[in-house]
């Protein structure tokens, strides 16, 4: 990834409101289509972006009630990688302390949720989370081919 140029950078700011993750997923789709990613991969990116936005909307408690997305197309000459950053200016969390969900435990647990990050990691190639007092950034990449 290092050494690759940013061929395109698109920024999207969404209000923390119902269904706004859909707007994010459409922009993700547009960017992935522009770099002619395969339809299945595009769909995976779309779902990962939806999950990241929902997390920001649901958990961040950001005062500005906004989600900031950046879509970057990276490559040496031709598009090779799509990098998406989903950022909020919320309270942050400690990713290392989030319990890894398992279906066996969830089946009997009261709280069935807690799958978002696992799904994002499963669908994208690389995922990095930076979180602290200034909020949370989740940076995820997917190769074109």
């Amino acid at each position: 990834m290092a050494g690759q140029a940013i061929l395109r950078e698109v920024k999207l700011t969404l209000p923390m409101a119902p269904d706004m993750e859909i707007a994010a997923s459409k922009t993700a789709t547009a960017m992935a289509e522009l770099m002619t990613m395969s339809p299945d991969k595009i769909d995976e990116v779309r779902m990962a972006v939806v999950e990241a936005c929902i997390n920001a909307i649901e958990h961040s408690r950001a005062h500005d009630r906004k989600v900031y997305l950046t879509f970057e197309v990276l490559g040496e000459q031709v598009p090779e990688l799509l990098r998406i950053t989903v950022r909020d200016a919320g309270v942050g969390f400690a990713p290392g302390e989030v319990e890894e969900p398992s279906i066996e435990r969830k089946l009997t647990a009261e709280r069935k949720r807690g799958w978002g990050l696992k799904i994002i990691r499963g669908l994208m190639d690389e995922v990095e989370i930076e979180s602290g007092r200034d909020g949370t950034s989740i940076v995820m990449t997917k190769a074109r081919g």
């Binding site: 859909i22 995976e44 779309r46 779902m47 929902i54 089946l107 069935k112 949720r113 978002g116």
Partner: protein, 126 residues
Amino acid sequence: MTESLRLRVDRRDSLAVIYTEGYINNQGGEEIASAAYKLIADGDKVLLLNLDGTKIVNSIGISILIEIIEKMLEIDGRLAFCCLTPTIEKTFHIMGLAQYAGIYPDEPAALEALAAGGTPTAGSAG
């Protein structure tokens, strides 16, 4: 602001099929669950969720489907899915859902497997 999930329920002799159309989010999941609980209350023990009309889900929506699986385990019933997009199927595998609910490419395949009693729900594969 968007239109909510649309559901259609088709009760057959030995099972009920729930057809979905639209986004399975929080609300969509709740709607599926209440349709499922109603069928269970009416005596159905085998449910097939045909997601052909659903191109997008989120993890909150799927979590609610886990509740239905839990219910099925309690009553010794079976839940199966068919017609998933590749991404939704992949997501179900990431979550391990595939161990507790049959996943079939299309409805005929699902019906055949369910008629043969082939779908694990009650932890047989768990």
